[in-house]
Symmetry: C2
Subunit: 204 residues, 2 copies
DNA sequence: GTTCTTCAGTACCGAACGGTACAGAAACCC
DNA sequence: GGGTTTCTGTACCGTTCGGTACTGAAGAAC
């Protein structure tokens, strides 16, 4: 069936991209509806009609962010070995959180950490969103153990958590203005803890 | 000279401790003046007379947090070797951000990351506060290189940044409800990247 | 062309925000 | 005890918050 009535006068996905950027730069609480609608180029009423409310807009923005701006993470999972997956993910992550044409840092970290006030649900939602990625990585590393390119005694869950910890810590640094090269250097150090790093994992 | 007029009816330091906890749990923006003064047990006017305004109260709260709740960091710097310093710091950090009687995570991380809205100065202040600790660690590691207990080609600045990245990533995880044991396991992995880890640093 | 549905925009809602004026009370100095 | 100084408490300031009626206009179906 065709859509009745007057069709929407703006591109909902394009507007969502603008919302992503505002939330990314200012966080959930710091982004007011006026900030959002101004950036999206639409009216307050149109926003409510299209997305429901501010929290729902944020959830959709985060989902879109996970799809578009974190595509590198899914790409990294396709690398042939556990070590290659981790190295690709961490280096691509650094590039993503230090892009000149995007806000510094990571939306799913600086969007909201504290659980006080009206954004308790938001912090939970972001935590769950991050955990999804962590579990996907753990699954991939588990397969790497099964395939033998990670040592048999490797704990894939713990290793995945370590990798995410490094990426989140880098995001905090990036939000504070750290240089891209510095964060790549951090990754180079971090990778020394990963089984498969050249001659650096004699024990484990 | 003795103090003139009616003396203050509350303990300013004790009240500040309460404020630390509110900011820690709810972040700068998420903590309203009513939340703060209720927890501090004092009146709105008394708070303004004693601390100036909300942002100044936050700065003092962060400074007190750095003194009291992060004493473990200064203690860690006294360990005899670079590796021991890092191991002590990271493990003590995990305990600090997962204390049952305190909010989860780290005030200087979740206090405010985004620079939007009215808290741009706050994010900058926190970043500077974190950088102070990072530089103190870098100085200590530089001494470790000079003293020979870290390899001569170690970059103390990069290594200090790596350590802080791990601690900040752990703080993000802790704020999301991660278990203490899991974060200690993360630290155990992270330490494998540090020169001096048992037989694990063949290269570098 | 008529009707109906959905859009866009203004103007507004009550509530909460950070911050302050003002009045009264309490403790010091003399 | 008088005078002064500083604290405490209430009540309020203007602003901004997220969210919503309500008015027109625009387009599709018939």
């Amino acid at each position: 069936m065709a859509e009745r009535g007057r069709p929407r006068g703006f591109d909902a996905d394009a507007a969502l991209d603008r919302a992503v950027e505002v939330f990314w730069r200012q966080g959930y609480e710091g982004a007011s509806l006026s900030d959002l609608t101004d950036a999206m180029g639409i009216n307050r009423t149109s926003m409510y009609a299209a997305y429901g409310n501010k929290e729902e807009l944020f959830r959709r923005a985060v989902n879109r962010y996970a799809e578009a701006d974190m595509a590198y993470a899914r790409e990294a999972l396709t690398r042939p070995t556990g070590y290659a997956v981790i190295a690709a993910f961490l280096h691509a992550n650094v590039d993503a959180i230090t892009r000149a044409d995007r806000p510094a840092g990571c939306l799913s970290v600086q969007g909201g950490l504290a659980d006080g006030g009206d954004n308790g649900r938001v912090a939970e939602f972001l935590a769950a969103s991050r955990l999804t990625g962590e579990q996907a990585l753990a699954d991939r590393l588990s397969r790497a153990v099964a395939e033998g390119d990670l040592p048999a005694d490797t704990d894939p869950v713990a290793l995945a958590r370590y990798v995410m910890v490094v990426s989140e810590g880098n995001a905090v640094h990036a939000a504070a203005g750290a240089e891209r090269a510095a964060l790549h250097a951090t990754v180079d150090i971090a990778l020394r803890a990963v089984p498969g790093h050249a001659a650096a994992d004699a024990d484990a």
